[in-house]
C-alpha cells in the first residue's frame, strides 16, 4: 500500500504515464521561469546598476539596520507583550467566575475579528498623530499585541484544556488551591504543548509588521520606498525585501519545528485527527 490514502501503488503503466506527466510539467515550469527571467531582462531589470545598492555596504547597512532590525524589534516586542496578554486573557476565559470570563471572551473575540490594519490606523490616530505620546513604531506594536495576544489567548486556553483532566483532579485531591493548580500543574505542561504554536504566531507577527507601511512606521517595507525612488529599481527592491522576509520566516519556522521535536515529539497534540480515528477524536 502506498503512503497516501488517495492512490494505490502505481503499476508499470501508471509509472510510465507519470513519467510523461513529469516531463511535460518540467518543461512547462521551466518555460514559466524562462519567461519571467526573459521579461525581467527585456524590461532592463537585470542591469547591474539596479542591483548595485544591494551589494553596496552603505545601503546594505540601511536595509539591515533601519529595516530588518526595526522589523525584528517590532515583532519581538509584540510577541512578548502578546504572550503576556494571551496568558492573562486565556486564563481569564477559563475562570469559574462569569464576570471575569465574559469580558475576557468579548475582548478576545473583538480583537480577533478586527483587521490588524484597522487597529493600527486607530492607535495611530489616537496615540501618535498631532503630538500624541507614541511613535508609529509603538502603534504597530500595540496593534499587533492586541491581535496576536487574542489569538494566543485561544491557544493558551486550548493548551490548558489539552492537559489531561487527571492532572488537575490529582492536584485538587492533594489539596492544592485553584491558583496553585493553574500555576504549578497546568501551565507548565500546557506551555510545553503550546510553544510551537507561539513560535508560529511569531511568524504571523513578523509578517504583519509590514503593515506599518500604511502608518509610516519603520521597518523593511519602509526602507524599500526610498531605495526604489532613488534608483527606480522597483522590481529588484521588491525581490530583495521579499527574500529577506521569507528567509527570516523560514528560520523561525525551522526553530519551531526543532522546538516541537525536542519538547513534544512528532505530533502536535493540539491538532487532533478530526475524523474517522474510531476513538471519538480523543488524542491517544
Amino acid at each position: 500500500m502506498s503512503a497516501s490514502v488517495l492512490f494505490d501503488a502505481p503499476g508499470p503503466k501508471t509509472v510510465a504515464r507519470h513519467r510523461v506527466y513529469s516531463v511535460v510539467s518540467v518543461v512547462a515550469l521551466l518555460a514559466l521561469v524562462a519567461f519571467a527571467v526573459w521579461k525581467l531582462y527585456d524590461a532592463g531589470q537585470l542591469e547591474y546598476e539596479l542591483w548595485e545598492p544591494f551589494v553596496t555596504p552603505a545601503y546594505l547597512e540601511f536595509i539591515l539596520v533601519d529595516g530588518l532590525l526595526e522589523t525584528l524589534k517590532m515583532a519581538f516586542f509584540s510577541v512578548i507583550f502578546a504572550v503576556v496578554f494571551g496568558l492573562v486573557f486565556g486564563v481569564a476565559k477559563l475562570s469559574d467566575r462569569g464576570w471575569v470570563r465574559w469580558p475576557a471572551w468579548l475582548v478576545v473575540e473583538f480583537f480577533r475579528a478586527v483587521p490588524v490594519l484597522l487597529l493600527m490606523v486607530f492607535t495611530f490616530f489616537l496615540l501618535a498623530i498631532g503630538g500624541g505620546p507614541l511613535t508609529s513604531f509603538w502603534c504597530v506594536v500595540i496593534a499587533l499585541t492586541l491581535y496576536n495576544g487574542s489569538v494566543l489567548a485561544e491557544v493558551f486556553r486550548a493548551g490548558i484544556n489539552a492537559v489531561p483532566q487527571g492532572q488537575s483532579e490529582a492536584a485538587y485531591a492533594i489539596g492544592m488551591r485553584k491558583s496553585q493548580v493553574m500555576t504549578s500543574v497546568l501551565l507548565p505542561q500546557a506551555v510545553k504543548i503550546m510553544l510551537p504554536a507561539i513560535i508560529s504566531q511569531m511568524v504571523v507577527a513578523l509578517k504583519d509588521t509590514s503593515l506599518g507601511y500604511y502608518i509610516i512606521a519603520p521597518g523593511l517595507t519602509a526602507v524599500a520606498k526610498p531605495i526604489y525612488l532613488e534608483f527606480s529599481n522597483q522590481v529588484p527592491t521588491a525581490i530583495v525585501i521579499t527574500a529577506i522576509y521569507v528567509a527570516v520566516n523560514l528560520v523561525l519556522t525551522w526553530v519551531a519545528t526543532m522546538v516541537q521535536k525536542r519538547l513534544v515529539g512528532e505530533k502536535n497534540p493540539l491538532e487532533l485527527t478530526p475524523v474517522g480515528n474510531l476513538d471519538g477524536g480523543r488524542n491517544v
Binding site: 490514502v5 510539467s25 524590461a43 475579528a113 490588524v116 484597522l118 507601511y213 522597483q234 521588491a238 478530526p274
Partner: protein, 229 residues
C-alpha cells in the same frame, strides 16, 4: 459616531467594496488553491514539489509585499492591467485597482487554501482507505464513498479560518488607494478627529459582522453535512 451616521452611504459603499474584494478573491483563491492542492497531493512528484515551493514562498511573504509587487513592481515590467477597464460586466466597469488588489489577495490566499485542503485529505486515516478496499470497493468507490466525503467535512473548519483571514486581509488594499472600509475609516478619522473612537467602533463592528456572517454560515454548513458516528 455622528460622522458615520451622516455619511452612512459612504460607509455602506466602503463595506460593499470590502465584501466585493472578499467575494471575488475568495472564489478565485478557492479555485487556484484547489488546483494547487490537487498538484500538492497528486502522484506527479515534480508538480508536488512545485506546489510546495509556491505554498512556502507565498505563506512566508507578507501580503503587503505581494501588493507592492503587483502595484509597484509589475507596472515597471509592463503589466498595469489597464486592459480590464475596457471589460464591462452588467454595466459596471472593473477598475484596474480592484483587479490588481484581487490578484494580490488571490495569490496570497490560495497558498493557505491549498494547505487547508491538504490537511483535510491528510485527516483521513490510511486505515479508512484500506478498509474500503478490503471490503471490495473499487478505487473510484472508495474515493467517492469513503475518502472524499470525510475529507470534505474535515476541510470546512480550516477553510473557514482561511476565509475569515481573507476578509480581514482585504484591509491591506487600503494602503494602495482603494477606498474600502479601512481607507474610509482613515479618511473619516482624518476629517473628524474628535470622533475617532466612535468611528473606529463603527468600522470595527462592520468587520465583526462580516466575520461573524462567514463563521455562522460555515457553522450551518458544518451542521448540515455532519454525520452521526
Amino acid at each position: 459616531m455622528d460622522a458615520v451616521f451622516s455619511n452612512s452611504g459612504e460607509y455602506l459603499m466602503a463595506f460593499g467594496l470590502t465584501i466585493g474584494l472578499f467575494v471575488v478573491s475568495g472564489i478565485a483563491s478557492l479555485v487556484l488553491g484547489t488546483l494547487l492542492a490537487v498538484m500538492r497531493v497528486g502522484p506527479v512528484s515534480i508538480l508536488n514539489k512545485a506546489a510546495a515551493v509556491y505554498v512556502t514562498l507565498f505563506r512566508n511573504t507578507p501580503l503587503l509585499m505581494i501588493f507592492i509587487f503587483i502595484f509597484i513592481a509589475m507596472p515597471v515590467l509592463g503589466y498595469n492591467f489597464k486592459f480590464v477597464e475596457g471589460v464591462e460586466i452588467a454595466g459596471y466597469n472593473v477598475s484596474a485597482f480592484f483587479f490588481r488588489a484581487c490578484l494580490a489577495l488571490t495569490l496570497y490566499t490560495s497558498a493557505f487554501v491549498c494547505e487547508a485542503m491538504r490537511s483535510g485529505v491528510n485527516a483521513v486515516p490510511l486505515g479508512q482507505a484500506e478498509a474500503g478496499r478490503a471490503i471490495g470497493l473499487t478505487f473510484a468507490q472508495s474515493m467517492n464513498l469513503v475518502i472524499l466525503p470525510q475529507a470534505a467535512r474535515a476541510v470546512i473548519p480550516p477553510l473557514t479560518s482561511v476565509l475569515i483571514a481573507l476578509a480581514k486581509n482585504t484591509s491591506v488594499a487600503a494602503a494602495f488607494g482603494i477606498a474600502e472600509a479601512t481607507a474610509t475609516m482613515r479618511s473619516f478619522t482624518n476629517d473628524n478627529a474628535d470622533q475617532r473612537i466612535g468611528i473606529f467602533l463603527a468600522f470595527a463592528i462592520g468587520y465583526v459582522v462580516v466575520v461573524e456572517v462567514i463563521s455562522l454560515s460555515s457553522y450551518l454548513v458544518e451542521r448540515k453535512v455532519k454525520v452521526a458516528r
